[in-house]
């Protein structure tokens, strides 16, 4: 598709859901009522199709030709808008020879060139992947701060966009069945549309500030949807917690933006990330700058992507309707942190210590969450902790660039690939759990039902596919991406500099993968196998998902089965992603050793779960009594919430209470004290004028004596 046609398409992606949100919010309660899903469906379908077209046509966009124009646009945004597309077309011939020559080169020489380019990064010409930039309007322009409302799509955002819109469309379809006859039906679809708009804008934003705007907007949508059933006190508390904890991360992001702005003089991605030379120069002038920026960025990512110790909000967020958990708290919003760190790779390359922090935090989070997931009995909570754990996996991968420049691109690729596959199978698992919940009359405690295999056949097989994909069963989605992560960790562990660190992380990652397979299948066996048992809320005949719920499940299950195979070993995903500015294309490998390892891990985990929950169902209880303290620790979620409460919330509340006391007694007391001075003085002086003539005479006498003495001493 020609470039001129891509611009309207670019705008269509966010604008369609926005329009749907507005229409549904205004007309929903009175006019649309239980037809409120229609605007949402159509808008998401439009966005999804546009994203696919964009995904397909982006590689052919010649950004070498229009790149200088875009940079000039950063200087003067209006010039970019005026710049006719024809001009870009005329500039094309000059650079096409460069592009075709590159593609004609053999694999080896390209790799060699890439490595050479990496080594000579500081004085290399900026490497530019295909990208489209569309200027909207001047949003904020004050002094030296310039934030145009500008969209930018490059490879990484095109992938994110297709994933986000695709999953949202399926979730919206499922949601119309799931939320069927809920009083807040229009509100649900208005918020979901708003969320998709914000999420699309988040990945399309062309500056750190605009990204932050939509970073917060997705947070708002999350707040509104977690608290969807606001009459439930737990939901109300969870939504507030999510927002406030996220704000802690946002603090870091704001600081990062300020640091970037003051050092680079710009907040636009094109200016900041597209210029390796500038980054290198700034780094040589102020060596602590990049680590500071990256640490602040990572703090932001920790909040949104629920990394230790800010992970506390995500499990509570399950108070929201299950489709929301699938969409926002598993597939899309929570991965924004990964996206941010991956996007800022050119900065992180100069901050190896922060990269190690990223990996370390990811490892701690992944292990901790997996250990907690072992003993949870709430199906959605198991999935929530597994999301936290998988996000940890992605961060583990992202930090591997610390081990060497040649690992940067594989590390980002692995993290992003896992993000991509995870979105499908985790959304699938949540929706299937939602289907269980729907059938069980909103009961989600796995102890209260079992053997649902026969009653819910579609839910059963789709859940099984999702669980297998999460556990890393060969050929399924999770298998390929987890392999990539393990492979990159092994490569990092082999390097000399941080070999030991990455070695430890590798061990943690393997054990966590084992735990993952175990707890996922524990949940599967507890729910679908064993004797058939329904809670009384379910009524006599639990009903299987209606077609509108079943089809999204089927589609997602097929995706979870095939998507990894389609884009993993074929190197399609990696090849596409690596054309993002800041990454260097590298050759894909098959890591047979890693595959063997992960097959072993998956089968061990699943086998263990089968032994404990199918073959010998009495054993888990015995293990629980034997390992009581550990069991309690895991079931109590390591008491992280309580620790947070004692260490942060209570002290702050106490300080707050002391502040008001201080305000009333000390500050206000002082003010009132000062105000009382005139009255006190007047009370004292008043006494002198009471009218006793003798006293007056006495004072007069003293005065006269004093005057005489004074006069004599002076003379």
């Amino acid at each position: 598709m020609s470039e001129e046609l891509l611009y309207p398409l670019l705008w269509l992606i966010p604008v369609a859901p926005l329009a749907s949100a507005i229409v549904t919010a205004l007309l929903g309660p009175k006019v649309l009522k239980y037809r409120s899903h229609l605007p949402c469906w159509s808008a998401l379908a439009v966005s999804f199709l546009s994203s696919l077209v964009l995904l397909y046509s982006l590689p052919s966009v010649d950004s070498q030709a229009n790149k200088p124009e875009i940079w000039r646009a950063g200087e003067d945004a209006t010039a970019q808008a005026e710049q006719p597309a024809g001009e870009a077309a005329t500039a094309q011939p000059e650079s096409t020879d460069g592009g075709s020559a590159a593609s004609g080169e053999s694999e080896e020489s390209r790799l060699a060139a890439a490595v050479a380019a990496l080594k000579a990064k500081s004085d290399a010409e900026p490497k530019v992947g295909p990208e489209i930039v569309a200027f909207g309007f001047e949003w904020l322009h004050v002094g030296k701060l310039e934030v145009p409302f500008e969209l930018r799509v490059d490879s990484i955002s095109a992938i994110m966009l297709s994933m986000v819109t695709g999953v949202s469309l399926l979730v919206a379809m499922f949601g119309s069945g799931y939320m069927h006859h809920d009083a807040g039906y229009p509100r649900f679809f208005a918020a979901v549309s708003m969320f998709v708009f914000s999420m699309c804008m988040l990945v399309m934003a062309n500056s750190f500030v605009l990204l932050f705007v939509f970073w917060e907007m997705v947070g708002l949508c999350s707040y509104l949807l977690i608290g969807f059933w606001f009459h439930k006190p737990s939901a109300a508390a969870a939504s507030k917690k999510a927002f406030v904890v996220n704000r802690i991360g946002d603090f870091g992001l704001i600081m990062a933006i300020f640091l970037i702005w003051t050092s680079f003089g710009s907040v636009s991605f094109s200016d900041v990330l597209g210029n390796p030379a500038t980054i290198a120069r700034l780094h040589s002038v102020a060596p602590s700058l990049m680590p500071a920026i990256c640490f602040c960025l990572f703090l932001g990512a920790m909040g949104k992507s629920a990394q230790f110790p800010l992970q506390v909000w995500l499990p509570d967020a399950m108070e929201g309707p299950t489709p929301v958990s699938a969409l926002i708290h598993a597939a899309t919003m929570v991965t924004a942190g990964i996206y941010l760190v991956a996007r800022c790779t050119p900065l992180f390359e100069y901050a190896p210590l922060v990269q190690l922090t990223v990996t370390g935090t990811g490892a701690i989070t992944a292990a901790l969450a997996a250990l907690i997931a072992l003993t949870q009995t709430d199906l959605k909570r198991v999935l929530a902790y597994s999301t936290v754990s998988q996000l940890g996996f992605m961060f583990m991968a992202l930090g591997c660039g610390a081990a060497g420049a040649e690992l940067v691109t594989p590390a980002v690729t692995a993290g992003m690939f896992h993000l991509f596959t995870h979105a499908f199978f985790k959304a699938l698992l949540f929706l299937a759990a939602g289907s269980v919940m729907h059938a069980m009359g909103d009961v989600i405690d796995m102890r209260r039902f079992s053997g649902l295999k026969r009653a819910l056949p579609i839910t059963h097989w789709t859940f099984l596919v999702g669980a297998a994909a999460l556990a890393g069963v060969p050929l399924l989605a999770g298998f390929w991406s987890k392999d990539e992560i393990l492979a990159v960790l092994i490569a990092a562990a082999k390097t000399s500099q941080y070999g030991l660190f990455f070695g430890i992380v590798l061990v943690i990652a393997s054990l966590t993968a084992l735990l993952t397979a175990f707890y996922t299948f524990r949940a599967y066996f507890m729910t679908f196998c064993g004797p058939e048992k329904f809670p009384e809320e379910a009524g006599h005949h639990p009903h299987e998902a209606t077609p509108i719920m079943a089809w999204p499940l089927r589609i997602l299950a097929v995706s979870a089965l095939l998507i990894g195979l389609a884009v993993g070993p074929t190197h399609l995903f990696a090849g596409y992603l690596q054309r993002t500015t800041g990454l260097t294309p590298v050759e894909g490998h098959f890591h047979l050793d890693v595959m063997a390892l992960s097959v072993f891990i998956a089968t061990t985990g699943i086998g263990l779960a089968w032994m404990l929950y199918v073959a010998m169902p009495t054993v888990p209880a015995k293990i629980a009594t034997v390992l009581k303290p550990f069991y309690a620790l895991s079931q109590g979620k390591f008491f992280l919430d309580e620790i947070l409460l004692v260490l942060v919330v209570f002290p702050l509340r106490a300080i707050a209470w002391l502040s008001t006391l201080f305000d009333r007694l000390v500050i206000d007391g002082l003010i009132d004290g000062v105000a009382r001075v005139p009255r006190t003085l007047s009370d004292r002086l008043k006494g002198l004028q009471g009218g006793p003539v003798t006293a007056y005479a006495g004072v007069m006498w003293i005065g006269m004596v004093a005057a005489v003495v004074l006069a004599m001493t002076l003379l």
Partner: protein, 545 residues
Amino acid sequence: MQALLFITLAIPTVTAVLLMLFRSSLATANARWVAVCGGSLALLCSVFLLARYHSAGAMSLESGMKPLTSTVSPDSVLQPKVEYVHTWLKSGRMQLDLYFGVDGISVAMIALTTLLTVSAILISWESIQDRAAEFYAALLLLETGLVGVFCSFDLILFYVFFEMTLIPLFFLIAVWGGKERKWAAVKFFLYTLAGSLVTLSGLIYVVLYASVDPTGPANLTSLPALSAWLKAHPIPAQLQTTLFIAVSMGFLIKVPVFPFHTWLPLAHVEAPTAGSIVLAGVLLKLGSYGFLRICLPLFPEASVAIGLPVIGLLSVIGIIYGSLCALAQTDIKKLVAYSSVAHLGFCMLGLFALNTEGITGSVLQMINHGLSTGALFIIVGMIYERYHTREMSEMSGLATRLPRIAVFMVFISMSSIGLPGLNGFVGEFLSLAGMFRANPVYSALGTTGVILGAWYLLTAVQKVFFGTLVEPHHGDHDVDDMNPREFLAIAPLAILCLWIGVKPGPLLDMIRPDIKAVVDHLEKVPRNAAEGAPSETPAVEASAE
């Protein structure tokens, strides 16, 4: 356009006088209609003024039409346009002018004042039954005073209007307030009066200082003339610092900056809803407006030497301390009052960043805080009117009973905690960004207020509107959701919140030249501290070429 300005100033005054004249013969029902007509007319005029001002600015840029010009010398830091000068007293070197005028900042502040006054009248519709005519007269006189401050460019005129606002608000609190109203009114009045007397003495000294110099300006009390003269003949540093502190006193108390804030929660809690709206929405801004109009132009060196480090620090403390105090409140009105302390901390933080981003953010924050806190007080007022309590522990889950109010509460809270896309973000972000250039540590500390802000306000939302429905005891009558009159009072504020957040451009364009003049002036002051200004490093420029 001068005529429009005068009409805006005259309508509330005339309406107030009419109300007072016919107070005995006017029933409550009629008095409020008279008031709302007067208020709306003033609003209409100020909107016309705003539109004319804005389009004149835009046209001069595009079509080369004659722009709005100022008669004052180009040296002046203040460039009022649409001026009206009338000398009414002349004696020796002393000359007193009625010097009215507006620039971009004042035009916006005037529109905010008239808008909030109409909202305040609408929200008092049912709740004020006793002496309604007097009530509305006081409210409209307050409006006159506020509009007067924003359009006077003569020191004496400024001061007269500045103090004039105290009297109607004193009566609003003392007559129509809560239980402790007398004490609150007296404290408010005396405290702010004491502060502004110190300010007055400082201003008198400045005028005398100019008058003894033979080269002094012809009109000693004209703010533009004075600022132009002081630009050429700066006051010695030592004296400037003393004068800065003296003149600041009244403004610091008015804003209020920590630790001068204790009158505010008391006044808010005791004031009737309308009083709180105007007090928080506009009256507090007289302080920051005073800093912007008087302290920064007249005492630039002292602003850099004292303002940035000291007032900056006090603002940071105000943000954190105000937020913490808000967190501990159980009375929702007191919570909003303390949140004002925090929000005005952002406003002052931006102002004393003394750069374009900061001051722009500060001016936006003045407007934004007026809109969002005004709206919050409206909501608190609506709840109080229905349940006669403001204790958060006595109610919960009101969203079930009052869904429309709940929607507005969530919306306005989001605006207040600075959610991007709404107005609060733009002001806060710019203020913090500006301060980051001037002093990154203050900025980082101030940013923690963003976390605390979300905490206390969302806690309030959660307690009052979410959870299981618990209603405080209220008679046998049914409690209704927001009615059209209340909707009319709050909806314009909400729309403006959204509009400024999504498209701040027009507003920014309007205030840009005025802020540029101040910043240009301030930037001439040598600063010894190493500044973290956005680098115009060769690197960035080279890459852009």
